[in-house]
């Protein structure tokens, strides 16, 4: 695991463009489609957008607003009859180098400048109270934040086998533990449950990988009293020093808060996701 405790994190940035495409197909004509999209990158100290756009086919009326967690939500309404809805989100972005270094601190009595209630409490797919014993066992003698997060992240990475098709988008954290397998989303849910059981504020992040086109990815962010939200990835075994690996899309308590497309449609038919493709093009900056 690439944990640079207390030392400088890699001072590299990134400039480029992103593209996120998704297509839904329906068994019969849809008269109206009303959806909440979380497909526009989430801006923070590390991530900046230089223009963004979302195109849908058929075209849609929309509003944009920030949800409780600062994600940009685009609410669309399609009123043209359709059997297929395609959504393309694209734009330009820059990643700033991480500030660092981030000294390790005791987990006990951490004080934060923001409200962390949601990131310590049970959420739809994560019930920390079912994971307390295991969390304490993994943490062992560690009393410090970064060290503890590192142990949990490493444990989930090593003990949950990466395997597609064994879970759904609604598999809960404790079920992932029981199954012993899953995808990035499942590993994140389990890690969140273990961290929250130890009273470490942590949240779910969905992202596009800058180095690998295809599906979206998920990782954990934990809150550091001085450094803010820092990455921990139980799939890729990354701790803090993520460099320019991720373009963050949305953050939340768990997957249910960051789902890229959620909504309702008016039709006698049923709908199904038929394609997702995410891609970044660009270069590192130094």
């Amino acid at each position: 695991m690439q944990a640079n405790l207390g030392s400088q994190v890699s001072q590299v940035g990134f400039v480029g463009e992103y593209r996120y495409e998704t297509v839904y197909q329906y068994t019969d004509f849809v008269l109206q489609n009303d959806d909440f999209l979380r497909v526009i990158p989430h801006q923070d100290d590390h991530t900046m957008l230089d223009g963004h756009d979302v195109e849908t086919s058929p075209p849609s009326a929309y509003v944009e607003f920030n949800d409780n967690y600062g994600n940009v939500v685009r609410r669309i309404k399609v009123t043209t009859r359709h059997k297929e809805l395609s959504i393309v989100s694209k734009g330009n972005f820059r990643l700033r180098p991480w500030r660092g270094p981030y000294p390790d601190v005791p987990v006990q009595n951490m004080k934060f400048n923001e409200d962390v209630t949601d990131f310590l409490s049970p959420s739809p797919l994560v019930k920390p109270y079912l994971l307390g014993d295991l969390a304490r066992k993994i943490a062992g003698d560690s009393t410090r934040l970064v060290e503890t997060v590192g142990r949990i992240t490493q444990w989930v990475h090593d003990n949950i086998k990466y395997e597609r098709g064994t879970t759904t988008v609604l598999t809960e954290a404790h079920q992932v533990l029981a199954n012993g397998r899953g995808v990035c989303q499942d590993k994140v849910h389990l890690a969140l449950g273990l961290l929250r059981a130890l009273w470490i504020p942590s949240r779910y992040v969905s992202c596009i990988l800058t180095e690998q086109a295809g599906d979206t990815h998920a990782y954990v962010e934990f809150l550091h009293p001085e450094g803010g939200w820092l990455p921990a990835d139980p799939t890729k075994a990354i701790l803090i020093d993520a460099g320019t690996t991720y373009l963050k899309l949305a953050v939340g308590r768990d997957y249910t808060d960051v789902s890229p497309v959620s909504g309702t449609f008016l039709s006698t038919g049923t709908g199904q996701l038929s394609r997702v493709f995410a891609q970044v093009r660009g270069t590192n900056t130094y």
Partner: protein, 431 residues
């Protein structure tokens, strides 16, 4: 009033109650509970009396609320609204992104309004919720009033009660929204299987305008709305719609409306103001848009999107009432003190799953009124609320119909909606 009842005697009262409630059934004064069951609206004929002074305050408060709500809707759909937070208003199921920039006839969205009030004692009324989608029940108010005159003529003679009519007010409203003198209007119903069909038919009769179903309407190639009738197709200027998903009933209606080819009562998009979470900001709308303090305060309510408030609500779940944001007519109301621990736990999971889908309120200790118990022959006390109806026309005039509909909860509950099995009661405003 009690003296008047004592004068009649239990036997006579029982006889009159039975006759009147049979009349109610004969008039098909019913609502539908489920696909196989209609129920006559049970009425307790002991009138509720409201003093003139008390009513003046209620009427002024309702008018103020309706005006502020309309202004909010105008600002919202022209992109200028800044009273209600964006994540609240744009997450509302009934917000229509495709209606931005579309203005309704005469800039009025909220034409027909039903507001639920309770009296906390001493005439301190608070607002429980605003009904602006397709508020129903005004026919019950009228029917209740008219039948009471027959059931208890001697009582009516001893009081001076404020009179009112609704037919002309509705017709004036419709005309004020159209640019023609004698607009052609229809009432759009979801048909005889809908829960409020009695009301649709009753309004059609007293207004003298045809009752149509979705299949009777179509969009002509010039973009206007037409109705098929036995005398051929006629152009429709205004639809008093008693259905929600208009596009599902008449394909192309949204576009006809956007182009200003037809007026809709209530206007498309009004449903945002019916949202139980948006309700929290109505007092602020009154302050901002009218520059006045609200005459009728809200009942205390909690926004569960706020994480600390949500934790508080989850920790105090047994003492709260939860309401689904888009619920209406008593649907989606969960009174925790009536539920067992398993159901409470289920509720807290639903709140964790969808914190934006509910609000919480504290149960209120509101007023009771007597009802006549036919079995025992005595009077007994039950919780009551008050649904008041108001109309806002295209010239900016607001009419609040005196009295409203008093709804009585079943014994030992505080839910007063018809669909929950309560009674109605005539409501008299004294001059």
């Amino acid at each position: 009033m009690i003296d008047a009842f004592d004068g009649l005697g239990v036997k006579e009262i029982r006889k009159r109650w039975t006759a009147a409630n049979r009349q109610v059934e004969l008039d098909s004064f019913t609502f539908r509970l489920d696909p196989h069951q209609w129920r006559a609206v049970p009425i307790d004929w002991v009138p509720r009396l409201i003093t003139h002074e008390e009513w003046s305050r209620i009427a002024a408060g309702v008018e103020q609320r309706l005006r502020a709500i309309n202004r909010f809707l105008l600002e919202l759909y022209s992109g200028k609204q800044d009273v209600v937070p964006e994540n609240v208003v744009y997450s509302c199921v009934n917000f229509n992104p495709d209606l931005q920039g579309v203005r309704p006839a005469k800039d009025v969205y909220a034409h027909i309004y039903g507001v639920d009030l309770v009296n906390l004692g001493n005439g301190d009324y608070v607002v429980l919720e605003d009904n602006l989608r397709i508020p129903s029940g005004i026919s019950y108010q009228l029917k209740c009033r008219d039948l009471t005159d027959q059931v208890l003529p001697e009582l009516k003679r001893s009081y001076s009660v404020m009179d009112y009519e609704i037919g002309n007010t509705y017709l004036r409203l419709f005309e004020s929204l159209c640019n023609t003198h004698h607009p052609s209007c229809v009432i759009l119903t979801d048909g005889s299987f809908g829960p409020a069909f009695f009301e649709h038919r009753y309004l059609s009769e007293i207004l003298g305008i045809p009752l149509v179903e979705g299949s009777d309407l179509f969009i002509h190639k010039d973009g206007t709305v037409r109705a098929r009738t036995v005398d051929g197709d006629i152009k429709v200027d205004l639809i008093y719609r008693r259905v929600e998903d208009l596009e599902l009933f008449v394909s192309g209606l949204t576009e006809a409306y956007r182009q200003g080819k037809v007026a809709l009562v209530n206007a498309m998009g009004t449903g945002v103001a019916d949202d139980k979470l948006v309700y929290l900001w109505v007092p602020e709308m009154i302050r901002r848009y009218l520059g006045k303090e609200p005459i009728l305060p809200n009942a205390k309510a909690y926004n569960l999107m706020d994480s600390k408030t949500r934790q508080f609500a989850l920790q105090n779940i047994g003492n709260l009432v939860f309401k689904a944001r888009e619920g209406y007519g008593g649907l989606g109301v969960y009174i925790m003190e009536d539920l067992d621990p398993a159901r409470r736990k289920e509720m807290s999971q639903r709140i964790i799953d969808k914190p934006f889908a509910f609000i919480a309120q504290e149960p209120l200790d509101f007023s009771k009124h007597v009802v006549f118990n036919k079995q025992s022959g005595g009077l007994e006390e039950r919780y009551i609320d008050l649904r008041v109806y108001a109309v806002q026309d295209g010239e900016g005039k607001v009419t609040v119909f005196p009295g409203g509909l008093t709804r009585v909860a079943r014994a030992n509950t505080r839910i007063t909606n018809n669909s929950s099995g309560g009674l109605c009661k005539p409501t008299w405003v004294l001059r």
